[in-house]
């Protein structure tokens, strides 16, 4: 399995080296993207959706056919509030796929349309690490309710109001603090997973490729098998192999995708 994979990578690499990058558009006939089209699409994405940006990346991995400062596109710390399975259950209950209308009137299919439109309407996007679960005097989370000990210990990591003292001249007097305690125990805060989403150009397939890097609630990298909890089960373990986490936008149903939800990646069915 692994040897086959390595052989394939080697073959692909060789083909990429000997063939020039596509410069002529064949988007309509073949559904592939030329390099200038990729850059243009990226420029548009960055202009229209400011949470995305171009990045230069590691100079040793630079692709010569792309500008040095436009090697790939990235948006970071996108909150992912729920696991995909729960969304799919809801979707099954809702019964149907939903056709969304874009500006040109060309409807396109949203495999999780119900959920998507709901999220779009929500004004308050939760920040990367916090989610207001009880607006105003809503639910108060009791730390022990969430499993007690361990989580509480983590919370205590945050500098407390009365911790810091000045130069030590008057230790007897309680000094005013400099920092606000970030997350007191009784706060209405729920941590969430986050993802970095990046898009590279695949010279071999002449398509964009979407990559995901997941982080858990305490901002540690997610193990691959945990990432699969956020992937639509139709795609997990099929078009999404372990060695490379390659996705198309529709396989990530639970990601709080900002307003880039509407971004049509064109043909990315490379698997």
């Amino acid at each position: 399995m692994q040897a086959k994979q390595k052989l394939y990578e080697l073959y692909k690499g060789t083909v990429e080296r000997v063939t020039g990058p596509r410069t002529v558009s064949a988007f309509l006939e073949k559904g592939v993207l030329s390099v200038p089209e990729f850059i243009l699409a990226g420029d548009n994405l960055v202009a229209k959706c400011p949470t995305w940006s171009w990045e230069a990346g590691d100079p040793s991995k630079r692709k010569q056919y792309l500008p040095a400062d436009k090697q790939f596109l990235v948006t970071r710390n996108v909150p992912c509030l729920r696991r995909a399975v729960s969304v799919e259950e809801e979707y099954d209950a809702a019964g149907a796929e939903v056709v969304l209308d874009d500006d040109d009137g060309e409807g396109w299919l949203a495999t999780h349309g119900v959920q998507a439109s709901k999220q779009e309407e929500e004004e308050d996007i939760p920040s990367m690490d916090t989610l207001d679960i009880g607006k105003g005097e809503g639910i108060k989370s009791i730390p022990s309710y969430f499993g007690g000990g361990k989580e509480q210990e983590e919370e205590e990591d945050i500098p407390d109001i009365d911790t810091y003292e000045d130069t030590g001249d008057n230790l007897a007097v309680a000094e005013p603090s400099y920092f606000v305690a970030e997350e007191p125990d009784d706060d209405n805060i729920l941590r969430t997973r986050t993802y970095d989403v990046s898009i590279t150009y695949d010279k071999y397939y002449q398509t964009p490729r979407v990559w995901l890097t997941g982080y858990d609630e305490s901002r540690m990298p997610l193990k691959p098998e945990l990432v699969f909890e956020d992937i639509s089960q139709d795609h997990a373990r099929k078009t999404v192999p372990f060695h490379i986490l390659k996705f198309i936008a529709s396989v990530i149903p639970t990601i709080e995708y900002d307003y880039t939800m509407d971004f049509d990646l064109g043909s990315t069915s490379t698997s």
């Binding site: 399995m1 692994q2 202009a47 959706c49 400011p50 949470t51 940006s53 171009w54 990045e55 230069a56 990346g57 590691d58 100079p59 400062d69 970071r76 710390n77 996108v78 909150p79 308050d124 996007i125 939760p126 920040s127 990367m128 690490d129 916090t130 989610l131 207001d132 205590e156 990591d157 945050i158 500098p159 407390d160 009365d162 911790t163 810091y164 000045d166 130069t167 001249d169 005013p176 603090s177 400099y178 920092f179 606000v180 970030e182 706060d187 209405n188 805060i189 970095d196 890097t213 982080y215 901002r219 540690m220 990298p221 193990k223 691959p224 098998e225 372990f242 060695h243 900002d258 307003y259």
Partner: protein
């Protein structure tokens, strides 16, 4: 303007937080294996300081050349990495001393005027680590040095920018912020900047070094910075981000301003958000002793420092690198 709520209380800020990316750990792992060996001398590294609200935290990337460009969402900020060879070396590092050394660099850059050329020097950070490569784990701690002097910073007023500014001012400011953020100029990737509002209520965003040119011909001058804020919690929204403290120290020591009008710039979905951006006023009287070349300021800023305990007792954070371990990925596949 006079509509701002006035009060006087000690300035409290939200601490900066680190958010090391997976690529950072991978780069550190390869650096240790291929380049460093047992060399544990301090290394310069760069971290992008996130500019918008959704990305509340700072991330860290090595090597320094990686992300030297910066873009509208990330300002490169200089830092120091000290990677020790074993757990004991890591535990024995004198965290207080290391923090003070970084704080001293910040003060020196303020005094020498380097900060005017490169304002990101105010956000200098420190990472100490021990990379346990056999077990695919990294133990680490991060500090964002914040200068402390014998004189206190006082907050005089603080309100949503949309409440402080007149409608015309707000519209003009919104448009110039929008234009400036989209312009991709050098100022866009600098975490501290100036906002001038002319007597004709026309707002513009400018580099800190234009301060002298700005004076006189403008009605309002605000010292702006990218503020990480905290969106999920209504209470926390009302506090400025931690970057403000060193900013005020700079404005006071270098430019002798003891009443600072500041602007905490915040975004919503990548667009300027004047509702959540804050305008406030803080006062700070010139501290003693800082101009002595040997003066080393006190500093705080270690993440995870616990109440009543010394910096020695800070628990290390642990990054689990299993997700980038090819062996574990192969095992999963079978």
């Amino acid at each position: 303007s006079s509509r701002a709520a006035r009060f006087s209380r000690p300035l409290m800020v939200l601490p900066l937080q680190s958010f090391p990316e997976e690529t950072f750990w991978d780069a550190l792992r390869r650096l240790k294996l291929d380049v460093l060996g047992t060399d544990d001398s301090p290394l310069p590294i760069t971290a992008p300081q996130a500019c918008n609200l959704l990305k509340a935290a700072r991330r860290i990337i090595v090597p320094p050349s990686d992300n030297s460009y910066g873009n509208r969402n990330d300002c490169p900020v200089p830092g120091t990495l000290i990677n020790t060879n074993n757990m004991r070396g890591f535990q024995n590092l004198d965290r207080d001393l290391l923090l003070k050394a970084e704080a001293k660099k910040i003060l020196d850059d303020i005094i020498s005027g380097k900060v005017e050329e490169d304002p990101s020097l105010l956000l200098r950070f420190l990472v100490i680590s021990f990379a346990d490569l056999k077990n695919w784990k990294v133990y680490y701690n991060v500090a964002f040095p914040s200068l402390i002097f014998n004189s206190k910073m006082t907050l005089l007023s603080l309100q949503s920018a949309s409440k402080v500014l007149s409608e015309e001012e707000a519209t003009s400011l919104y448009n110039s912020l929008l234009e400036w953020r989209a312009s991709n100029t050098k100022t866009t990737v600098v975490p501290f900047f100036l906002i001038s509002i002319s007597s004709k209520l026309c707002a513009s965003v400018r580099h800190l070094k234009d301060w002298n040119a700005c004076q006189g011909n403008c009605q309002k001058l605000l010292f702006g910075y990218y503020d990480h804020g905290s969106k999920g919690d209504k209470v926390k929204q009302d506090f400025p981000g931690g970057a403000l403290r060193n900013y005020i120290a700079f404005l006071n020591i270098r430019w002798k301003i003891d009443k600072v009008q500041f602007f905490c710039y915040r975004e919503h979905r990548g667009m300027p958000d004047l509702e959540h951006s804050l305008i406030g006023e803080a006062s700070f009287s010139q501290p003693d002793g800082w101009d002595d070349p040997d003066y080393v300021p006190e500093a705080i800023g270690w993440e995870g420092e616990k109440p009543g305990k010394g910096t020695k007792e800070i628990e290390p954070k642990i990054a689990n690198l299993e997700s980038i371990n090819p062996v574990s990925q192969d095992n999963e596949k079978q």
